[in-house]
């Protein structure tokens, strides 16, 4: 999978490394801003009330 991505990136090794870094950062950004905020309320840490609102 990662080998396939690496082969399909353009440019030489340095450019590929740079693009990979940007891709990784983009993925982390999406995870922290959209995926994790969605997933976090599914865990029990939010249940602090007694009337379950």
């Amino acid at each position: 999978m990662y080998g396939w991505i690496w082969r399909h990136l353009p440019g030489n090794a340095w450019l590929k490394a740079l693009i990979s870094l940007v891709l990784v950062m983009a993925v982390v950004y999406v995870l922290f801003n959209y995926v994790f905020p969605w997933a976090e309320p599914l865990l029990p840490f939010n249940d602090v009330t007694v009337d379950n609102q």
Binding site: F32, F36, F45, D47, V48, V50, Q53
Partner: protein
């Protein structure tokens, strides 16, 4: 075959990394976010209070001008005194809470409502309970863990501890009478006007704090009850409980 094994192992490593990132998010990032947001809420409140503290003087001069030239201005006739305090707006802060036992610098905004999104920004006031300082039971919920860990040290609260709140015009000092009391999540009677099991027998000005127990779980709730001990206007300075 080799390709399949490689892909599966790569996926496993990816899932592992995502889980680690998620733990970092829950343990660390929600706290960083919440601290910023809570500070914003407190700033917003203090700005609001500073503005309303300034308002009386222009309001008074406006009133005298209006009496001098009654129908001169086209502005709608605003009542000189507001008709009682405004109702709390859902998801908006209206008070700041201080609990010296949880740390001398511990202060958190109190917002109206206990929705998930509201509790990310501060403590949440149960919408159907009494107003701050009024007869009944002013009930507030807060996170034990994540989102800044506001009630992390909840079990350290003891009888006699002060819970101080301000709404910009007054300081309200509540004293804890009982707690932490452990109960189940469906026990809504703990936020009744005269909470069951609290030991209070008659009506009064009470405060209830709720959070989850165990620290990272949701099987139980921890409850603390307090009664209003004293009030003083903000002009009189900080209450004794907050002075070092």
């Amino acid at each position: 075959m080799r390709v399949v094994v490689r892909t599966v192992s790569e996926l496993c490593v990816t899932v592992g990394t995502v889980i680690v990132l998620f733990v970092v998010y829950v343990l660390f990032w929600t706290g960083v976010r919440a601290d910023t947001v809570m500070d914003d809420q407190i700033d917003q409140l203090q700005e609001q209070w500073a503005q309303s503290a300034m308002r009386p003087s222009p309001g008074a001069s406006g009133a005298s001008r209006a009496s001098g030239a009654p129908q001169a201005s086209g502005a709608p006739q605003a009542p000189a005194t507001p008709p009682g305090p405004a109702p709390y707006t859902a998801d908006k802060p209206f008070a700041i809470m201080y609990i010296p036992r949880l740390g001398f610098t511990w202060n958190k905004p109190v917002l109206e409502g206990t929705a998930t999104g509201t509790l990310k920004k501060g403590l949440g006031h149960y919408a159907n309970t009494a107003r701050l300082g009024q007869k009944g039971n002013f009930s507030v919920a807060g996170h034990r863990r994540t989102y800044g860990d506001p009630f992390k040290d909840f079990p350290r609260l003891r009888r006699g501890d002060a819970v101080v709140l301000t709404d910009g015009t007054s300081w309200f000092t509540y004293r804890i009478d009982k707690g932490p009391y452990k109960t189940v999540p469906s026990d809504i009677e703990v936020i009744d006007p005269v909470p069951r099991k609290s030991g209070y027998t008659g009506e009064g000005r009470y405060l209830t704090l709720t959070t989850c127990d165990p620290e990272w779980g949701h099987s139980h709730r921890l409850i603390v009850w307090a009664h209003l001990d004293s009030t003083q206007p903000v002009e009189a300075g900080k209450p004794k409980a907050l002075r070092r």
